[in-house]
């Protein structure tokens, strides 16, 4: 049975993104965000939505750059923590003992301990209300060698990213079993219809 429900910002799965920025004083900051996704292939773009109340919001506007760092399961506590406190009150890199490394391509820090990061130059911002979408042009990527496959692409089974289960469970999850190959398992639908 179907239920009509009030509007909710529930997307399953939602990612766990750790946004890296520098303040005007050069102080590195990180915060966790779940509102975001890839926005374009060419140019390669990613969008991250932040509230104006956050320090990261102002850092991105000022520096014109940010990184999107993907935490692994083993960084769960750190990823949760940097989403709970403000960079105005806490040195989040120091407190978590994570290490900021300056991106070679943009004016933003990379979290050294995390498996990989997207380096983004701010392309556009869209004010929507509670949140502003920061659309970043992905200009490069930095990754640990041990999460790359033979084509030098991050492999989800090696990265072991975290998912956020949204408001239904308010919990984090790991990735589960491989279900099938993309652009492949669907061919069966066509075959069934064609009777072949």
């Amino acid at each position: 049975m179907k239920f009509s429900l009030p509007a909710q910002t529930i997307l399953l799965p939602s990612p766990v993104l750790v946004i890296g920025t520098y303040g005007p004083d050069g102080k590195p900051n990180i915060m966790t965000a779940a509102w975001g996704g890839i926005a374009s292939s060419k140019p390669p773009c990613i969008s991250v939505s932040l509230r104006e109340a956050t320090l990261s919001f102002h850092n991105i506007k000022q520096a014109g750059a940010f990184t999107v760092n993907i935490p692994s399961e083993k960084h769960l506590k750190e990823a949760d923590f940097v989403g709970m406190v403000s960079g105005r009150e806490c040195d989040k890199f120091g407190t978590t003992r994570l290490t900021p490394e300056k991106s070679r391509l943009v004016n933003a820090p990379i979290v050294k301990e995390f498996p990989y990061a997207l380096e983004c130059a701010l392309l556009q911002q869209v004010d929507l209300g509670s949140h502003t979408m920061f659309i970043g042009n992905i200009v490069g990527m930095v990754a640990d060698g041990d999460v790359l496959n033979s084509h030098k692409l991050p492999d989800i089974e090696k990265v072991r990213p975290i998912l956020w289960g949204s408001f239904g469970t308010m919990a984090y999850y790991g990735i589960g079993s491989k279900l099938g190959d993309a652009f492949s398992v669907g061919k069966e639908v066509q075959r069934i219809r064609e009777g072949t």
Copy 2:
């Protein structure tokens, strides 16, 4: 060891979104998209990026509405299939034997068999190059009763959504084990620092 790599649109995890639209002739269509995410809390918004070559792109512009349907693991073949073929050449609802049900709130079809859907009124579009971001105001949600928790919110453990592993593995995954509670597991970082 860290490697600097070319820009790639690799976000882990990426969602598997099935976008529902009506054509000018009233014909329902669905397509799979992985480029998207929640864009704002108030107003509740979601963004989905599509190429101009797709039928859905034109349907959204014309109808000013779309749905974001979340497939469950058991709909893997259908979700993959509707991302491989164009609605111009194939009646995708008919071929997959999925059922279009008109949203009561927007001019777009809901996939009856999928666990839940967000009903979206087109708010804004942002042309980025290969893709255009369609930002939809989420005006309501339709869900199966058996995927809701006691607060009438979709529960990820009942929805069993599909993740896309992006270009590294080109495969789909299920959700894995619960790793911890949000806004909770991170408190341990603070306690360790404070020595309490």
